[in-house]
């Protein structure tokens, strides 16, 4: 069969795959991707897995290695249920931002699907991971797998030493603050190499070993300390602690007075994993759009060159159109904007603008309209943008009309929504701004910061929630999360809701009010 296929120029025929065919397909696809799209990718490691293993991978946030925690079990049961009921198909692939780039392929896929998935993940996502500035600056693809391996081992080790319950308590609390555990504005330090990590751990262990309880019994030297306390003004205090601090987990890890070294290390692990995923959350549309654009373009090119049969192409197109299906807002199947569809449409739109622009495009995008080099334009967009800036920059009026976007204003106190803008001259700018804003993770997640703590006094930890547009926090989950903060901090914690514009305190909630 292989002979037959190669004679006719086809990469494969029939739906069965074997490793030789996969390898041949990858090489052909990679060659054309480098030659035609100028993609630049990490080396690829393809792993064939069964559907059950795919479910396993799903439930541990898509990573091949993960520490143990009950919440992953819960997600597994949920995913398994959806899968069993056929309420949701499994993804055909899973790709990990690592070097080498790991791509999981499901064994059930037909050869046509494997080719599609190879183009999508092994080239599209892979290129994006390697070249997008967010990933380049914020994640360390070479070190993540060995770090996860360390994390898994370390947490298992802690469970042996300190008991599963104690470790679980820390993980629960840290997971609750995962979203507040990332640096959004300044770059995180690089993952330390294994050697350094071992050094850190050894130091911690040494501290634990050499701890001597006698020091605690020394009488405090009177006078000196007291004067010091009074002199330390609030401003001084904030300066020494680097406040305000948006990364709650970082603050707790460094400054909490009650945590043991191993507990700090666990918080650090959760924090680093949260940070690793932060760029992915900011580039959903771009990442999926890039991968979808790449697979669509490559598959068509291969088909045009007679390397994919018509039957296989039909199957590929059918799957492609399933992936980019976007129902309208009033359709029962509507569940938000499909990032695959929006990303692909925008990128194809850029392709169109740079090759055959209309007068309107020349007006809106003077720098790229008609420049003829859509490859370079796209490569540049993939390199330098995240969802928010990408949409703000490249969403064209033509696309707004095609999607028939409109903006709905939702004021909680009023009994109705109001249509603010539609796809007309006056609406384009507003729709574009509103859509871009909705993809700004920094703006759309609650902004909570540590503002003050008196380490020498009652150690009351004060948090501020900057309330934007009057959006408050949901009461029950806020209280439960505050309880977690308290368990990590050890002393009273209070959260004040402060209006971002006026600076007025709207509401204050303290753990002493919650109890527990």
């Amino acid at each position: 069969m292989a002979n037959q296929a190669s004679k006719s120029g086809l990469l494969f025929s029939g739906s069965d795959w074997d490793f030789k065919t996969l390898s041949r397909a990858y090489e052909a696809i990679e060659a054309i991707a480098v030659e035609e799209l100028h993609l630049d990718v990490y080396p690829v490691q393809m792993e064939i897995i069964s559907s059950e293993q795919m479910l396993d991978a799903y439930s541990s946030v898509g990573m091949p290695l993960m520490y143990r925690h009950w919440s992953f079990g819960k997600h597994f049961l949920y995913q398994e249920l959806l899968y069993r009921k056929a309420g949701r198909g499994l993804a055909y692939e899973l790709v990990i931002n690592s070097n080498p780039c790991i791509v999981y392929l499901m064994e059930e896929n037909t050869m046509a699907l494997q080719a599609l998935v190879t183009a999508h993940a092994a080239l599209g996502h892979n290129h994006f991971f390697k070249n997008n500035h967010l990933f380049q600056q914020w994640t360390d693809a070479g070190a993540i797998l060995s770090y996860l391996d360390f994390a898994k081992g370390y947490i298992a080790h802690c469970e042996e030493r300190h008991g599963v319950t104690a470790v679980e308590a820390i993980l629960d609390a840290a997971h609750a603050l995962m979203e507040q555990g990332v640096f959004r504005y300044h770059r995180p330090p690089k993952l330390s190499s294994e050697k350094q990590r071992d050094g850190v751990r050894e130091r911690l262990e040494y501290e634990e070993r050499s701890y001597n309880d006698l020091w605690r019994t020394l009488p405090p030297s009177k006078g000196e300390n007291k004067a010091g306390v009074e002199n330390l003004g609030m401003a001084e205090r904030k300066k020494t602690l680097n406040l305000p601090e948006e990364n709650l987990l970082y603050f707790l890890e460094k400054n909490s007075l009650i945590l043991e070294p191993w507990q700090r290390e666990i918080i650090r692990i959760v924090r680093i994993i949260a940070q690793y995923f932060y760029p992915q959350r900011q580039t959903q549309v771009m990442n999926e759009g890039c991968a979808t654009f790449v697979h669509y373009t490559l598959m068509n090119m291969l088909f045009d060159r007679g390397r994919i049969s018509e039957g296989a192409m039909l199957e590929i197109l059918r799957n492609h159109s399933n992936v980019i299906f976007q129902p309208a807002f009033d359709d029962p199947r509507f569940s938000g904007i499909n990032p695959y569809a929006l990303g692909l449409d925008m990128m194809q739109d850029i392709q169109r603008i740079s090759t055959e622009p209309t007068a309107e495009d020349r007006d809106w995008f003077p720098d790229i309209a008609g420049n003829g080099d859509w490859r370079e334009t796209l490569l540049d967009a993939w390199r330098n943008h995240r969802d928010e800036s990408f949409i703000r920059q490249y969403l064209s009026p033509a696309l707004i009309r095609k999607w028939r976007f409109f903006v709905l204003a939702d004021t909680a106190s009023e009994p109705h929504y109001e249509v603010q803008s539609i796809h007309n001259e006056r609406g384009y700018e507003k729709i574009r701004a509103a859509l871009a804003h909705s993809y700004d993770i920094g703006a759309s997640r609650p902004d909570i910061q540590v503002v003050d703590v008196d380490l020498l006094g009652d150690r009351h930890l004060r948090l501020h929630h900057n309330v934007k547009d009057g959006i408050m926090l949901e009461d029950s989950s806020r209280d439960a999360t505050l309880r977690h903060v308290r368990s990590l901090w050890g002393y009273e914690v209070s959260l004040a809701a402060v209006d971002a514009q006026s600076g007025a305190t709207i509401h204050e909630r303290s753990t002493s009010q919650i109890g527990g």
Binding site: W70, P446, G470, M472
Partner: protein, 436 residues
Amino acid sequence: MPIFIDRRLNPKDKSLGNRQRFLRRAREELKRSIRDQIRTGRIADVDSEHIVSMPARGTDEPRFNDARDSGRRQHVLPGNRHFAPGDRIPRPGQGGGAGSSPGTTISEDDFRFVLSREEVLDLFFEDLELPDMVKLNLKEIVAFKPRRAGFAATGSPTNINVGRTMRNSHGRRIALRRPKQEELDAISKELATLEAEPPSAAARQRITALQEELEWLERRRRRIAFVDPVDIRFNRFDHRPVPNANAVMFCLMDVSGSMGEREKDLAKRFFVLLHLFLKRRYDRTEIVFIRHTHEAHEVDEETFFYHTQSGGTVVSTALEEMHRIIEERYPSNEWNIYAAQASDGDNFATDSERCIALLDGQIMRLCQYFAYVEIIDERESHIFGTTDNGTSLWRAYSVVNQKWPNFQMSRIANAADIYPVFRQLFARQPALQKSA
């Protein structure tokens, strides 16, 4: 050229540990759910897979979330058909404006999932405070025993059947005409005598011929082995389940008005436990439900637990009915008969004597085991806990209890009291098996 790794053969259930952690965490809630299902389900279905709904308490993962019902937002939606700026759309529903606004997905916290038989039984046993050995016994499904089952051409060296092997070898040697030692000996002997004689032409010729023949025979002997791998036979063993006899379980219950929800629930668990025990011990178990007021009837499970009937309480009617059914359908030489009776202890004043007579004279002879529980109020439990005083039925059964070792009785006020009733049953397993 990418690296390919085939992970399909990797061990499965990578997330099993996570799943177990989750179940442990949700234990209390799951236990309640299982308890409800046991209350409503059939006795025989207890040890199958159960679908339970996701417990909310203890397994939510809180984080700071925006409240849906506050503030001002903008939603960008696709697919506008007829809206113009300034149009107003009424907020759908009262539930905080979900409806068409984006980001509303089905909550992960209200799904249902399946617990395996093991997990269900674990949760079920926890309430009953069963000793671990007993739990293990009940969970085990079937015991297997290896039995001789003919011969096989493959097997482990310890199982070689020498007799068979040699018989095959012998047959093969005959069929292939393997030269026998005697033939060789005869030729060697002749050679020796010929060589001892003075040489002659005829003798020399004979010697050469004999030597050739000897060589040929020896070659042939080497070629055709004495025992060849094809001859070897092994004893074959089949793993057969240990044969169990049949058992029938009689559930007797007083259904007069005094038995309320709580009493019936406890009674049901009592029956379930006995049934689990029997199911594990016997290939085939049948359950007969007899309910009684002042008259007794055999009924189906549904009626047994959920239909009330008014009337007085005459316990002996149930015993008579049981006796009748045994005579009719379950001859005691073919069936192991177990009986479990639950009651609140009320009985018609003069009936207790008759109960004693029935049990003593007829039923106890036929039964493997008769367990009686009297369900009492929790408040009464410390009063009645130890004394022999009690309801008329209790006093009557005390007499039987002293006479028959396989009669057990107990007062129970909550689920943990049930197991002691069966303690003897679980402790003396081998002795109780009739067929043994």
